[in-house]
Symmetry: C2
Subunit: 335 residues, 2 copies
């Protein structure tokens, strides 16, 4: 927590910003927060036997979100995108620190932004425990921390040959949302633009799969969240696990909005497999644990989708209608 | 850790940046780092009975450092500024996560920046455990974490009436460094510009007082790091402790470079008390613990400077040659 706040000459100093928009009464904070906003550091008590999982991400206006995006959505998504990293570890979301860079103090913007932020914190049971505001081009960095048992944390490196390969939900919705925003696609949709609404929600108000991650850590061998598209993220799993994989394109679960588009197969695959920002989980489960996991999920009424299996070698190959298919996908790279 | 890295089409993806400049072999990492760079989250084992102290700060080019500042200095200072927050809690520095926003990939800049970063990490015994790089205007957010016993963490709120009030070292050096850079001052200095060199170091390569903080946590009642100037930061202590303070201006320790300037008293006070960025500690100690602390520090050859005492009421008052002095200081506020 920075402390640039004598507040003598100007109407709204940093301390006011934190006090006004980001401080909650200690009553509403988790018992584990020994010391939260208002000191140099936040002090966080960790449960015996549990470790801290930490992740940091920056979102820049015009790069990660539209400059005119609703501030509620920016705040909500900023949290969820980070919680998705915790979900991929099987960690229980716990604490957030926020570094917010603003070109000016816009109280209305801050009010709505903080509402979105706290909505996501409430949904995930997290506490904001520290912050820093800075003048500069609109951007923000969020560090989330969660806890998970040391020997159960889901890693990218744990995939074994023979594992079944799954995704936790339909893909391509966020990519369609982005294309719709940019005017690149239109839906054959007579239901009051229901498809447009769905893909906009997928893009702007993603739900991180942390509750599912808490189940998964008991059964899966490896896991990653799908932020850059299935192909890109699955390649990380393969590289770090020294595995290959066969993916059956027939089994990819597509976002329902694809039903309102006349895409050819290649275009559909481009959106669903390389589009990014779905924040579903991609994971592998041993044949031994597969039935146990499916039994639990049936009881919880959670659906997952097997899309392939882990094989030896480092190659990722695709099959469609039982024939090898060489995908041509455009990638996604920040630099 | 974000994962935007298929690295198929471009020469240097994010993963390469992390791998090349920020990843160290697991051998060189602290044993407590169960999982560091290369997965969705870093996993950090906390010692039994200890808690995590976390702090986040953003530094923006042109706001927090000169756009043409040496990248080594930027990296070094970015860490030290954050470690200073840990020092103020009496926490042992442990882990860093870094979110770096860059307008372009400049390998030379990154090489030097990472050298400065790791120099500071090595000096403070910290490990970089996660990171994120993003394209955008040059800025960075750093989250540091340290550990400290729950009942010994130094807080801003612990000051008691009657406490002796101290600072850990000379003040005003960084403010002089900034003024010198901006061409606002010149030194009457014939020793090869030694004063200029000293203040430039004070500004660009500050040393956080974390080792001193580890001693202090055993004895002090309250503590804050002096990032915005003594008056501003002391006011935070007073507000959160419901205390007042009397400060004797005769006892302020000044940076040696003041000897090469013809400042009048008011100007000297402005620089030393409101200049900011000294990263010394301001703290209060009970009369009972005062001698114990001084004895320990004599053995360690560490000097501290009593500048006043805590009194009842919320006022901060100043004395010079035993007379009340009403200071007129220009403040410092990011917004």
């Amino acid at each position: 927590m920075s402390k640039n706040s004598q507040n003598t000459s100007q109407s709204l100093g940093e301390f006011d910003l934190i006090e006004r928009f980001f401080k909650r009464s200690s009553f509403s904070q988790n018992q584990s927060v020994i010391l939260g906003i208002g000191d140099d550091c936040a002090l966080l008590e960790v449960n015996p036997g549990e470790v801290v999982a930490a992740s940091i991400d920056t979102l820049v206006s015009g790069v990660h979100f539209f400059a005119d995006e609703k501030p509620f959505n920016i705040g909500y998504k900023a949290v969820m995108v980070n919680v998705s990293d915790l979900a991929a570890m099987g960690a229980q979301p716990r604490w957030l620190t926020l570094a917010l860079t603003l070109p000016e103090v816009n109280e209305n913007w801050l009010e709505l932004f903080s509402q979105g932020l706290f909505q996501a914190l409430d949904e995930t049971g997290m506490s904001l425990v520290g912050g820093d505001t800075t003048r500069g081009p609109l951007s923000m960095s969020l560090q989330v921390q969660g806890t998970v048992e040391k020997d159960k944390a889901l890693k990218r490196s744990g995939m074994q040959v023979g594992d079944a390969l799954y995704v936790s939900g339909p893909l391509g919705g966020a990519a369609l949302g982005l294309a719709y925003r940019l005017g690149k696609i239109a839906f054959n949709d007579e239901n009051d633009g229901k498809a447009a609404l769905l893909v906009d929600q997928a893009l702007c108000l993603p739900k991180a799969r942390w509750q599912f991650g808490l189940i998964l850590k008991e059964y899966a061998n490896s896991c990653i969240d799908i932020s850059d598209g299935l192909v890109s993220d699955l390649n990380h799993l393969l590289k770090q696990s020294n595995c290959g994989a066969k993916v059956n394109l027939d089994d990819i679960p597509y976002h329902p909005a694809f039903n309102y588009l006349n895409f050819d197969l290649n275009k559909k695959w481009q959106y669903a497999l390389a589009g990014g920002e779905d924040y579903e989980l991609c994971f592998s489960v041993s044949q031994k644990n597969k039935e146990k996991l499916l039994n639990i999920l049936r009881k919880e009424n959670v659906k997952i989708f097997q899309v392939g299996e882990a094989v030896s070698g480092g190659m990722l190959s695709f099959y469609y209608k039982s024939k090898a298919e060489s995908l041509k996908l455009s990638g996604y790279e920040h630099f």
